[in-house]
Amino acid sequence: MKLGGGILQHLRALVAGDRQADRVVPPSGFTAQLTVFVAGAMAFLAVFALALSLAAGRLAERWGDELAQSATIRIVAPLDQRQAQTEAALRILETTAGVATARALTDEEQQALLAPWFGPDLALDTLPVPRLIEVIEEGDGIDPVGLRLRLSAEVPGAVLDDHGRWRAPLVQAADRLRLLGWLSIVLIGAAVAAMVTLAASAALAANAQVIAVLRLVGAQDDYIAQAFIRRFTLRTLAGAAVGTLLGVLAVALLPSASDVGGFLTGLGFQGAHWLLPIVIPLLAAGVAFAATRAAARRTLRGLT
């Protein structure tokens, strides 16, 4: 990750760098703490936005995969006609465009599906349980309207359960949610940039006389800017680190995900994604670095 590496390098130079330059600008009290606080709060929010985006992404992907790949046909018929209708449906599917494979589930498979509700001892052959045909699609998938028309003509008991019909809007919603999550992260970043710009501009204005003296004794703009950049970058880094840590803890302490809980409890990080929030303080520091440097350059150019 080139961006992260560059920022890290800058940060290392800043921390190790010229403490002298830091000393020539008088310490600033209260506003400094505000910067730390806002950076922390923003990082906290960013953790949630990140968790939201990732969770929404997972959801959209899962739903989207299933939707793109499969459909189900139920054969609801009296026991004696069931087998015949199933075979008729399979024949139709063989000649339907967009079908990769289609096969009827075996009794054992259906039993396994129903076991959670009726227990393992269910005798399927004596009950009018519909037969399920699993259709795996290929290419652009099947045309559900056309297929339904053909089925209704030849297999009266067939009901096409087109997953897309009800899942498409959900996938769309999840996609939209993910987009909103990322947009929030971008907005949070922009807000940090705006906040640091305001704080740095205020600090530069408050120290106008100090800057004038430094210029008179031969300080270069970069040297003067360095003192301010160092401060605001380190403050933002510290605040964002604490905020991120608290945010991650809060996400970790959310009740654990379960299948029934669905999306809400699925909000969190999975696997390697737990490492992603580390990027938040680094990005915040990078944003602060750039914002302070821009503010300092603007201010210094206006002085003699």
Binding site: Q20, P26, P27, L214, R215, V217, G218, Q220, D221, L300
Partner: protein, 225 residues
């Protein structure tokens, strides 16, 4: 070192200085006099790049001042020590830190020049005020600190604007001796003052030229001093 050619300057109204030509050769010693408001401080500012001439050319170390960028100006200020008339310090740093500020900002803190700090402070009589903060200094102490700060980098040129305005005769002699010593080491010195007795006292030790600003122009003062 510093060269002015047909320079004019105006703050926006009429011209304050007109048709000024002046050459500060290496190792020269100049005084600049003239009535209050004549433009002495303005002329010095032209000499260290704080003001740009409204007409004519100013060359600092053989470079046209109009062609210098901000870092070049910073570099010029490291080679020109300036004692400002309204000297300003960093009020949150001690006197000794303020005096070594030019070393600090140019990354030469550890140079041999840094070792001279104690000696320099004792020369200007501020040894026991070294840890004081600038707001605690008297007017004369501020001026002495300003002289020390101006020369700590051992600059090629020293421009001093009324360096002895607030100090007694003995101390001003002392400061002047410091500047004369620097001049003997080959530094160029320009002092703005209207203290004529100071000029006379100096002329006994060093070959000094006296420039006077009158009627917006600069002229070499004669032997009438």
């Amino acid at each position: 070192m510093i060269e002015l050619e047909n320079v004019a300057y105006s703050y926006g109204g009429g011209e304050l200085l007109s048709d000024i030509s002046l050459k500060l050769a290496p190792g020269s010693f100049h005084f600049l006099t003239g009535p209050s408001g004549a433009g002495k401080t303005t002329l010095l500012k032209l000499c260290y790049g704080a003001l740009l001439p409204t007409a004519g050319y100013v060359r600092l170390f053989d470079a046209d001042v109009r062609g210098l960028d901000r870092d070049d100006i910073a570099a010029v200020r490291r080679r020109v020590g300036v004692v400002h008339q309204d000297v300003q310090f960093l009020d949150h740093l001690s006197v000794s830190d303020n005096v070594s500020l030019p070393l600090m900002v140019s990354g030469r803190q550890d140079d041999a020049a840094g070792n001279d700090l104690g000696e320099l402070l004792s020369w200007v009589g501020l040894t026991n005020r070294a840890d004081a903060m600038p707001p605690e200094l008297s007017g004369g102490e501020r001026q002495r600190a300003a002289v020390a700060r101006a020369v700590i980098m051992s600059p090629d040129v020293v421009l001093a604007d009324e360096p002895t305005g607030n100090i007694d005769w003995e101390m001003s002699q002392r400061l002047l001796r410091l500047l004369i010593e620097l001049n003997k080491m080959g530094k160029t010195v320009l002092i703005a003052t209207h203290d004529l007795s100071l000029i006379r006292a100096t002329k006994a030790h060093v070959q000094a030229r006296v420039l006077r600003i009158a009627n917006r122009r600069i002229q070499l003062a004669g032997a009438d001093l």
